[in-house]
Symmetry: C2
Subunit: 200 residues, 2 copies
Amino acid sequence: MRNSVKASATRKKLLDAGLKLISKRGYLGATTKDIAKKAGVAELTLFRHFSSKELLFQEIINSYTFLPALKGLLPEIKELEYREALLMIADKFLSRLYERRDLIRIMQSEMHLYPSKVKDIYQDFIGGVYQTLASYFRELQGSRGMLRDFDPEYGARAFLGMFFSYFSVHELMFRKDAMPLEEGKLKTEYVDIFIKGTMR
Amino acid sequence: MRNSVKASATRKKLLDAGLKLISKRGYLGATTKDIAKKAGVAELTLFRHFSSKELLFQEIINSYTFLPALKGLLPEIKELEYREALLMIADKFLSRLYERRDLIRIMQSEMHLYPSKVKDIYQDFIGGVYQTLASYFRELQGSRGMLRDFDPEYGARAFLGMFFSYFSVHELMFRKDAMPLEEGKLKTEYVDIFIKGTMR
DNA sequence: AAATGATGTTAGTGCTTACTTACTCTAGCA
DNA sequence: TGCTAGAGTAAGTAAGCACTAACATCATTT
């Protein structure tokens, strides 16, 4: 019986092991032997599930897509205070990055392998967040006149950029190093700067 | 005669070719054969100059260090208007990143090979910029009372983070794609948000 | 009880890689 | 003119890689 419970469990173990090893050592540095070992199966089993290493890699990238980050959140956010809304967005955004840190690391270091695929994933994720945030800003500028007249696209990039670069440096590069940055304080400091910087 | 003109020219060609190829394909993906070919010399010549591929890699990382980015700039900046100062800092910071984009890409994707070395380089560069910027903020908060009472360390990270993530996404990830972001506008929008966000 | 589907074990193939050996060529300097 | 430093050419080595072939084991299903 194709796709039995056992088979798809093995499959998942291989995808997990592949994701972790490739994110740690890169596509070339993660050998099929090691991936199989990490998954707790024989190397041959890897090839029985994925006919080549490259195919395994593509399925890893495909299967671990991003959940929609903020898209449906816009109505909910509109009900909040500006400050609470920004804090919530920062929170959700960082959580999504953490959840997918292995995949993001792969995208950053192996993007020359499948540039267009990586770009698609990126657009789905970050692009969606940009849009949501930008249209939130536009709303607060227009009907309510609460925010000053900055470009909402650039504003969204500025806001998310602060958090993305924090994530990039501390989570992707120096995860294990003790860096004395307290994330709660970081969020409020960043949000405060941004609030003052964008309000009328 | 060791270190003749010819020899050190060849050496430099190899370092340059290695930097470019490794930044493009990764350490494992850039073969000694291809590096030599790109440098326009025989593969054997590579091994006569650097006894192993790993040693070549280490010398690449060592030789292409960052120039001090802002360190000596503090006195000069203090004479400027706040807005002009921030624009200048953004400018210099982005220029340094552009100058060293190949090395930064290598640091990001191969940092698992020599984490401590990469960390040192990072500290020398970004760390120095943080300090300079943070002490500039502290100055404007204290003696002149011009800026409000935000944490200067976090402020520096927020400011540089906006620009680093722009660089990271557009220069490291999607260099070749047409992305309709105009850098001049980006700088002024970001700086404006930050100015309003930090002034008393 | 027999068939089947999923995995394991072992031994291998052909290819590529970093790196070596041995020898030749050439330009510049003593 | 001859020596030498630096580079080239060609052939090869040992190891590691993705991937395969042949056969065995075992649980589940029929």
